[in-house]
């Protein structure tokens, strides 16, 4: 009885073994086990063939599904069936103010032509080419031509001209032979024939439901070779090309994300105005540096975005619609957070709040924000729903770790061990922080430190401080509210709030370099006393005694008609965290009351140290600290300059909790460039 041949294996050796097992059940040929035999050669061929087919089929099956496909063109093709065109590279865009200064005020116009080129200053040693994509014309005002917020795009404008031949190209597909195109810059214009110069501009088809048989649109797809192709309609969806049409395709090839941060542009050639004035002096002022440059969508990103994009159905309704759609059209963001106005305090109904963290830098510029709202969100959002883009608020963590280790159990030097701790914390940050809705967990960070070298590190103590940075408006007297959004630790002598320095005028009008100092003890007395039971039969005011962990609180009672009417605090006392109230005497009985302690607040004063190291107070009432809500309110202060070169004042508190989580537009991060962000001290056992 010959058993069936097993067919589930894919591997060459196993297939061959199966064949041998199969042959072992017959007696016609017996030499299948000897490698030199003729039968073995035959088995090799059979097994090789089977293996080859199995591998091939496996690959075909893999490529047949979006989740398992490995080749870019398969993934792109699957995405196409979901109506998703992967985004291409995006050119970085900068905004400039451009002025042309003339000597006369004769009226005239100046046009910056499409393709006019600017050079940027070096970014990582490379200067980039920026061009305008449209003709822009202004008229002279007094003696100046002024272009405000002129957008310029990184890259080179490329032009292709095709003459359509129905016989040679019946599918009307035209290749754009470039892999570094920003497809949003493609401009297609069609001329009916070489002699008929009536040019019509065709637009990219985005929505087939409003494309008619006469719509002048083109379709875009990525080709097998990762280049792009455009094709035209069939007179059912989109207008078909006529034989002999002349198609001009113009687009920008770009370096993508490399050109982000490019700034300080210079012109490369002079311009002449309508008066033929060659004496114009040109000046370029940067408004916002280049941003928005991005690489084209990777395979993994397409796999993620295409189904998500499909569920949005090209409309912005839910939070995730906003997140997916904005991310697709503005790919240079790292993380995005969307929340409804009803979650604001106070609620702002009918408004969607969006916060975006860019891939480079900390903030998206205001001009970019407006462009995102106008070009990306508005066309797809529900009518009458407003969108507001908030800047992300960064909460910086300062990690202080004290590591106890045994130097005899390691070959690493102390500095190397410190470096390893540093990279462990940064790895923790990369995996868990630096995005919206992230949570810092102290115990996990501590585990990461301990795990650096379990052999030598005996234990560690990690203290985390939270830091906010704010940029004061210099020279004007302004109040500031700094919202940490997390509970803060009330400082003691050793772990008070720290502040970086800045310069103000003191009361005598002298410039002083000062800093904020926390006064944690103030206002932690008894706020009020609530009567629980007024008691009865009192003939005189009873004595009120307050006992608790603080000192100095006193109060008096007033009686009306034999019952306790009111308890008035005469001294709030200090340092109370809990207190009980006892009411005695007065010949009555039954009166009880409870003490209500202030919310934990502190106050700020501004101080400096004089030449004799004496602390001098500039303003003893510079602000308040609400520890529970994590809000620091600074009263009006006129700051002249800030000592830190980046212009930020930094306030750091020890965190009250070991789990720091955020919502809305707060991002927890660790500033790698700040030498105080991660401080490790080693203790030898």
């Amino acid at each position: 009885m010959v058993d069936r041949l097993r067919v589930t294996e894919l591997d060459f050796d196993t297939i061959k073994e199966n064949l041998k097992d199969f042959l072992s059940q017959q007696s016609e040929f017996t030499d299948y086990n000897f490698e030199g035999s003729g039968l073995s050669v035959l088995l090799d061929i059979l097994a090789y063939n089977t293996h080859y087919q199995a591998y091939y089929l496996n690959m075909v099956a893999n490529e047949a599904f979006m989740d398992t496909a490995l080749l870019r063109n398969s993934v792109v093709s699957h995405a196409k069936s979901l109506g998703y065109v992967p985004y291409s590279r995006k050119a970085a865009r900068a905004f400039i103010n451009f002025t042309g200064n003339t000597t006369t005020n004769t009226a005239g116009t100046l046009t910056i032509p499409k393709g006019y080129t600017f050079f940027s200053e070096d970014v990582d040693g490379v200067s980039y080419n920026f061009v305008t994509l449209e003709d822009t014309t202004v008229t002279k005002s007094n003696t100046d031509y002024t272009f405000i917020n002129l957008p310029i795009y990184e890259g080179t404008l490329v032009n292709y001209l095709y003459v359509h031949s129905e016989a040679q190209n019946p599918k009307q597909v035209f290749l754009l032979p470039d892999t570094s195109i920003d497809t949003s810059t493609i401009r297609v214009s069609v001329q009916p024939s070489a002699s008929n110069t009536q040019v019509s501009v065709y637009l990219l088809a985005t929505d087939s439901s409003n494309t008619t048989s006469q719509s002048e649109v083109f379709f875009l797809q990525e080709s097998l070779s990762e280049e792009y192709q455009i094709y035209f309609g069939d007179n059912k969806i989109g207008k078909k090309l006529e034989d002999g049409s002349v198609i001009t395709i113009e687009y920008l090839t770009t370096n993508g994300e490399l050109a982000n941060r490019a700034n300080n542009f210079v012109i490369t050639e002079s311009l002449v105005d309508s008066l033929n004035d060659a004496e114009i002096e040109f000046a370029v002022d940067p408004v916002s540096p280049a941003s928005g440059g991005a690489e084209k969508e990777s395979i993994d990103e397409i796999k993620f975005s295409a189904p998500v994009q499909f569920t949005t159905q090209n409309r912005l309704v839910t939070y995730s619609d906003y997140a997916a759609y904005i991310k697709k059209n503005y790919p240079t963001i790292n993380s995005i957070s969307v929340w409804g106005g009803e979650n604001e305090n106070p609620p702002v109904f009918g408004t969607v709040f969006v916060s975006m963290q860019p891939k480079t830098g900390y903030y998206v510029s205001d001009v970019e924000k407006q462009k995102i709202i106008d070009d990306i969100i508005k066309p797809k959002a529900i009518v009458a729903v407003n969108t507001i883009i908030r800047d992300p608020e960064y909460l910086y963590l300062l990690i202080n770790s004290n590591v106890l280790y045994n130097p005899k159990k390691t070959i690493l030097t102390g500095d190397e061990l410190k470096n390893n701790v540093l990279s462990a914390i940064l790895e923790y940050k990369d995996n868990n922080l630096d995005k919206f809705e992230s949570t810092f967990v102290l115990s996990k960070a501590q585990d990461a430190v301990d795990a650096v070298d379990t052999n030598t590190i005996i234990g560690s103590e990690v203290v985390v401080r939270v830091q906010k940075r704010f940029k004061p408006s210099l020279g004007s007297s302004t109040p500031y509210t700094i919202n940490f959004n997390v509970p803060l630790h009330r400082g003691t002598v050793t772990n008070k709030m720290t502040s970086t320095q800045f310069v103000v005028f003191d009361s005598t009008g002298t410039q002083r370099e000062i800093f904020f100092e926390e006064l944690p003890q103030s206002y932690t007395g008894i706020a009020s006393i609530r009567i629980l039971n007024p008691g009865q039969n009192y003939t005189s005011a009873p004595t009120v005694t307050i006992t608790g962990d603080g000192t100095g609180a006193t109060a008096t009672a007033t009686i009306v008609n034999g019952t306790l009417q009111n308890v008035t605090i005469t001294n709030r006392g200090i340092n109370y965290t809990r207190a009980t109230v006892s009411i005695t005497g007065g010949n009555g009985f039954g009166a009880t009351a409870e003490a209500i302690i202030d919310a934990r607040t502190g106050s700020l004063q501004t101080v400096y140290y004089d030449d004799f190291s004496q602390k001098q107070i500039v303003n003893s009432n510079a602000g308040t600290i609400d520890y529970d809500n994590g809000v620091v309110a600074i009263t009006d202060i006129r700051i002249l300059s800030v000592s830190a070169p980046d212009g930020f004042i930094r306030l750091s508190f020890e965190s009250e909790k070991g789990i720091i989580s955020t919502a809305k537009n707060t991002i927890i991060t660790i500033d790698e460039e700040d030498p105080l962000a991660i401080v490790t001290t080693l203790e030898i056992v």
Binding site: S27, D31, E35, G36, S37, G38, V41
Partner: protein, 140 residues
């Protein structure tokens, strides 16, 4: 590459142990089926296959074979002939457990640009030695 002359005709088989396929796929004159090699013939055929297989010929087993072809492009001298003898002995020892080689002589014939090889072995469980003579010659 070579031809084989089997010198000692073995005895007529009385008990068939080894049956192998003839890779030339000659048709059996009577049965009109594929011819089979039996016993000693099967073994000799196997030895021949081993000797004439070069590296990288067998799928997924690049080191299988004797690789004599590479040696034929070396200088035709005693050193190469020693290598040849060694390669043939090794491939048989590695892949043909039915055979024990008793003697191998590769004799270089410079005039004819070839080696005459005399391979003597016996099949395990059999008393008779088998000697095969063949020549190895570079043909391109």
């Amino acid at each position: 590459m070579a031809s084989i002359i089997v010198q000692n005709n073995p005895l007529i088989p009385t008990n068939v142990t080894y049956r192998d396929l003839d890779l030339r796929f000659n048709v059996h004159p009577v049965k009109k089926d594929v011819t089979k090699h039996l016993n000693e013939y099967a073994v000799i055929n196997s030895v021949k296959n081993l000797v004439f297989t070069n590296f990288y010929e067998k799928p997924f087993n690049p080191n299988f074979g004797s690789n004599v072809r590479a040696l034929l492009f070396e200088p035709l001298d005693e050193i190469t002939s020693t290598h040849l003898e060694r390669a043939i002995t090794e491939v048989i020892a590695n892949y043909e457990p039915r055979v024990s080689v008793t003697e191998i002589i590769a004799d270089p014939i410079p005039d004819e640009n070839r080696y005459n090889v005399k391979l003597t072995f016996y099949i395990l469980n059999s008393q008779d030695t088998i000697t095969i003579n063949f020549f190895l010659e570079r043909i391109r």
